[in-house]
Subunit: 210 residues, 4 copies
């Protein structure tokens, strides 16, 4: 009933995604974002994706290997962009609190500007499956965050009561629930509008209370 993880097994024989024509890849991933953000995973047919991207079903299978892998690979590419954007924005900010605020803001802003990614995360991704695929603690994103947090703890600016991972979970939790709440309440009142208040709350939570 319970097939072995095909994603991994297949991964070994997959042609490198890099070999896929970038324009085609773009079309495929846009189709993924469009369709999976509107309908749940199991209500999406890969033919829709194929047609939406103007490629054959086989091309998708060839480069992505499975429906799940297609989705996760697309999400991954998006989060990569978030990570890059974060690094970019951190440049030239000196004050630690401001660096962290920026980090927080970039995350909220990203989901605000890329609601399809958020919708997919909410409508088509099982946390656990995604996590196993490596997406949940998305490496690049994770490292940016962890680096910033480590910096704060090293400075003694952040609380030492809990470890960095817990700090990260605390922040992630607030971000996650907040952007989700935005969707749930019909996408009025964009999350960045509350960014500062929320950040100040967060800051009180994690700053070293000295």
């Amino acid at each position: 009933m319970n097939r072995p993880e095909p994603a991994h097994a297949a991964a070994l024989r997959l042609p490198d995604l890099a070999q896929l024509d970038p324009a085609t890849r773009e079309r495929i991933e846009q189709a993924v974002l469009d369709i999976f953000s509107q309908r749940e995973f199991h209500r999406v047919g890969l033919i829709e994706i194929a047609r939406g991207a103007n490629v054959s079903l086989q091309t998708i299978y060839k480069y992505y290997g499975s429906k799940e892998a297609l989705l996760f690979s697309t999400l991954d590419a998006q989060l990569q962009r978030l990570a890059a954007r974060m690094l970019d924005h951190l440049q030239g900010i000196e004050a630690y609190k401001e660096r962290l605020r920026k980090t927080f803001w970039v995350a909220l802003d990203f989901f605000e500007k890329n609601p399809r990614v958020l919708q997919i995360l909410m409508s088509s991704v099982y946390i656990n499956t995604w996590r196993r695929s490596g997406g949940y603690e998305h490496r690049p994103l994770f490292s940016v965050f962890i680096r910033v947090l480590a910096e704060g703890r090293a400075n003694g600016v952040l609380t030492a009561e809990v470890d960095e991972k817990t700090l990260l979970d605390f922040i992630y939790g607030v971000i996650q629930r907040n952007v989700q709440a935005w969707v749930v309440r019909g996408m009025k009142d964009p999350p960045t509008r509350q960014a500062n208040v929320l950040f100040e709350m967060l800051w009180r939570a994690i700053a070293n209370p000295v």
Copy 2:
């Protein structure tokens, strides 16, 4: 391509779940907890559930209407228990901060003691779908929390910078991510162990900084 939401359509003609023999219902819901916590939604076959509960497929369809409804109904019953337990534990605690701490602790403790519920939430539930079914902002649970938060704001103990819902999201986010992290890290170090530190952080975030 896109099947109509059978859950809703079917819901209208469902015999009341209450008419289902309680012992049978118990067996069904235990099977749901067992199986959906081990395998993703779309990897679970309803026959497994039926066999696991020693009932016929038709019984499930008759009382629950669809796979999705079966799962959500079961989750609902569990969260009902959480809400009840919370009310129960709040009795006889006077100090506001302690009431809130208790609330927080009961939630962590619930997931720690009912890991199958947590696993299901992480492995078989799309936030969005669940939300639409009414589970995400689960009424009974929601009211307990909101009542406690409203109380705090009325007292001036909690910050007035954001509304109650936002406070709730903040807390929910921290709980959610923390219990998830526990699963992700292999279920060592139970979430209640950090309950107090985390709560103090939370408290600093949401208390009125006066």
Copy 3:
């Protein structure tokens, strides 16, 4: 590349064909006869068959297991009819030569009256595959023939130079090629028209030359 014989493996779990509603079975097998007789095996899609028989694809898979098995099973049913008819016609004929002549005639007549079966044998069946499925030396048919031949050898009417199987092959060969030739030449001049001349030739070949 080279999958194991799925027919056999699957055979074990197949519900008995006898459990299939006879009317449905009839519709399926008529569709098989219609379509496989017009187009080669690999040009036939099972959906055509399903649609032609007004059943779902799954019903076909459930009872027959595979495309190949479906075809062979249908052919088998037809040859069963030939065997039955042969037994029927043999009744009440005393003279040995006449019995054999009848046998020969019934075979030619069968293909003449069931050209779809013949077409399928010529257009969609690989001798070897069919043989492995047990169809080539179709048991019931084979036994009728062999019994008649054994009878002739026992009487000393037939030649003892070769064994019964070889005699059978000799006769089969003549029948086969003759009905095939009829199709090839556009189905004019039905094979039974030459039945007697051919049979006399055959008889000279296999009768004991004493």
Copy 4:
């Protein structure tokens, strides 16, 4: 559903097979004989053939046009050899019966020595398709046979009850079924061993009974 006969359509633009390097052609046709004799037509992939012959897929398509045409072309080349061999062996035999016996024997001997051709005929060729491609009544082979038979009828040695084609079918049938039986029974007892007995039977059948 029903693809157009690609063989014919393509045939028109095919470069002459004669332009294909003979060594390459030899390698291709050996691969065809090897592989199609082991596996059924639709279980053979052209890449296997290409790899087995150390040529590119395109070379095959360029010179042969389609999978079917490749197979039939290879068979044709083999039957050409049989026809040539037959002519060769007929030389210097005077007695008519001996000429015919030789013809019969050469055919049996050919399949005995070239079992791959026989296997292919049994495992990968639909009579009807092959016939349409011109292979079944393979011209060169056909003419040798027909010439010998015509000779016999002209002499009054052969029966005049049926026409030459029917005589030919009679003989073909016996040959075909006999070599097939050899394969079916596991390739013991080579068909030539029975050549004489069978031929005498055949002879009684077709000789003018005067």
